[in-house]
């Protein structure tokens, strides 16, 4: 694997329209002057309008029904749509079929559990057998985005032993691949989403690009109890930006948009990366510890997006 291969979407046959100067670390990813990992540009994120949560469909290209394609993917969920994106970047012509609607989050989504019912795919499934497992109604999703439409963002990696349950525990089947085959992909996606979570000491110890989110009262009680019993607790990884610069790494990578809902508060790591600029607005602890940026309640396009807009 070459270093440019590790760059998601970067290697698209000269179609990449801009690049930022930066150093490359041993992992092949660009680094900030201070050494933090900087996510490579995710061009899809910048398709979104700053003030709307919907995909701006009026700006999408339209094709004739007779257009010849290389591949048809059934289902525009997490797997199908990502596959389509990656193949399109490599020049494939892909069609994705989706049975549900193309949601407009501003119009179709509500902040209400019962009202979110229509995001679920509720075609009837029949459960039976000796010991039927009762399903939830939210087992899968409906519409473009699939179950990601009601996904809480939990993204743990598999434990390396999960791939050998037959050998180790005598149940299920072993996987034909190992954790180590997937590791590079995990790292790539965790950076792109990006994922926020505690350092993970189990299995293959790893950290996440963003620092962990705060936990709720219920989780706090659970944590307390576990501590009393001597059980190690870590805040699980979620694919939700955490614009809270405990370290420069966390703040630096949060210029990426991921969850549209998490866009409300942005830390923008603009020209401030050198430790200059708007430091005067910063709370003292941020300037002292990270020399990065200010926290603004106003959504603002990060510089990478601005550069892209100017060029396009």
């Amino acid at each position: 694997m070459t270093s440019s291969d590790r760059d998601f979407g970067g290697d698209d046959g000269g179609e990449r329209r801009f690049s930022l100067r930066g150093r490359f670390g041993p992992h092949g990813l660009r680094t900030f002057p201070q050494g933090a990992l900087r996510p490579p540009d995710n061009d899809s994120a910048f398709l979104l309008d700053v003030h709307r949560r919907a995909v701006p469909r009026e700006r999408m290209a339209h094709y004739d029904d007779s257009y010849a394609v290389d591949l048809v993917i059934v289902g525009a969920g997490a797997g199908g749509s990502t596959l389509a994106q990656r193949l399109a970047r490599r020049g494939w012509k892909v069609v994705v079929l989706e049975v549900g609607p193309f949601w407009d989050p501003d119009e179709d989504w509500v902040s209400d559990e019962a009202g979110a019912h229509r995001l679920y795919w509720t075609e009837q499934r029949v459960i039976g057998g000796q010991d039927p497992v009762e399903l939830g109604k939210n087992n899968s999703g409906h519409g473009v985005g699939g179950s990601m439409n009601h996904y809480a963002g939990y993204c743990p990696r598999f434990h390396p032993s999960d791939f050998e349950v037959r050998t180790r525990d005598g149940v299920g089947q072993d996987w034909p691949i190992s954790y180590w085959d997937l590791k590079a992909h995990y790292e790539r996606l965790e950076l792109e989403l990006p994922v926020a979570g505690d350092f993970w000491p189990w299995g293959d110890p790893h950290r996440y690009p963003h620092t962990a989110h705060p936990v709720t009262g219920g989780a706090e009680l659970c944590w307390d109890g576990a501590r009393k019993l001597g059980i190690e607790v870590r805040v699980g990884p979620v694919g939700i930006t955490r614009p809270m610069p405990r370290t420069a790494k966390a703040a630096a990578s949060s210029g990426l948009r991921s969850s549209p809902r998490a866009r409300k508060v942005w830390v923008y790591a603009a020209s401030l990366l050198q430790g200059r600029g708007r430091r005067s607005n910063c709370p003292h602890w941020i300037t002292r510890r990270t020399r990065i940026c200010s926290i603004s309640g106003v959504p603002r396009v990060p510089t990478t997006a601005e550069a892209r807009l100017k060029r396009s």
Binding site: D106, E107, D108, W109, V110, S111, D112, E113, A114, G115, H117, R118, Y120, W121, T122, E123, Q124, R125, V126, I127, G128, G129, P132, E134, L135, G136, K137, N139, P214, V215, T216, G217, E220, L221, R261, K264
Partner: protein
């Protein structure tokens, strides 16, 4: 069931049927509406927070209160039986009541189901209809004409038996009662707790978008959330009063 303190209904030993105490002793709701107008958070009305919700959510939640759907799926007889059933399992014994059956009826009419069923069960819509028949049949076994007009004690016995799967007779020999119970209760509870009046009762903050939550810790509440008027722990209280 009596209301207020003028009659001795609030004293468990003096109640005519010697049933457990009614939670009349909880404070009366001052702001907004709760089922039966008592609640733990008397000065909290979640609907006052409506301006903080996004437009689509606000329309959806306010419609639950303002536009109660008519019964379209159930027949009159079924609605009578099941309406009594819903109010009884939710202990809604006086107005204002959350219109649970109307909301369930609208879901069933629209075919909004949970997306799965057990192999030995009919479609959820059919389950509701059969249960309505079965409850009436069970009430007749106790000498009543129908479930809705049966004695309160008879209704309770039937429901108790239904929940334990120990009903017998034509309908119940073909329908696994415990699974039917789970189908009904899933719907009843999710509909009840989607209603803002129930949110007032339990002090739930309601929709969180776009405002969000800032105070996560144990014992903390957002500035707009209501304070509890009593420190009674319901878990212990239920045990002490023998309500389990």
């Amino acid at each position: 069931m009596s209301s207020g303190f003028r009659e001795p209904g609030h004293l468990p030993n003096l109640r005519p049927d010697r049933q457990p105490a009614h939670p009349d002793r909880l404070p009366r709701q001052q702001a907004g509406v709760t089922p039966q107008m008592y609640g733990r958070y008397p000065e909290y009305d979640v609907l006052e927070e409506a301006p903080h919700w996004d437009e689509v959510t606000r329309r959806l939640v306010l419609d639950r209160v303002e536009k109660v759907p008519d019964i379209r799926f159930f027949s009159d007889a079924e609605a009578r039986t099941l309406g009594v059933f819903c109010d009884l399992v939710l202990a809604q014994d006086k107005e204002p009541r959350v219109p649970v059956l109307n909301m369930i009826d609208a879901k069933l009419y629209a075919g909004q189901l949970d997306g799965f069923r057990y192999a030995d069960m009919p479609d959820d819509r059919e389950t509701w209809r059969r249960v309505a028949k079965g409850l009436d049949a069970a009430a007749r076994q106790h000498g009543s004409q129908e479930f809705a007009t049966a004695q309160w004690t008879v209704q309770c016995q039937v429901i108790e038996a239904f929940s334990k799967g120990s009903l017998h007779g034509q309908v119940w020999d073909e329908l696994p009662a415990k699974r039917a119970w789970s189908v009904l209760m899933r719907a009843v509870l999710s509909v009840f707790y989607s209603h803002p009046w129930a949110w007032n009762e339990i002090g739930f903050g309601g929709p969180a978008y776009p405002r969000g939550f800032a105070r996560f810790g144990v014992g903390q509440r957002e500035h707009w959330e209501g304070a509890a008027a009593t420190a009674v722990d319901p878990v212990n209280d239920v045990k002490e009063q023998g309500l389990e």
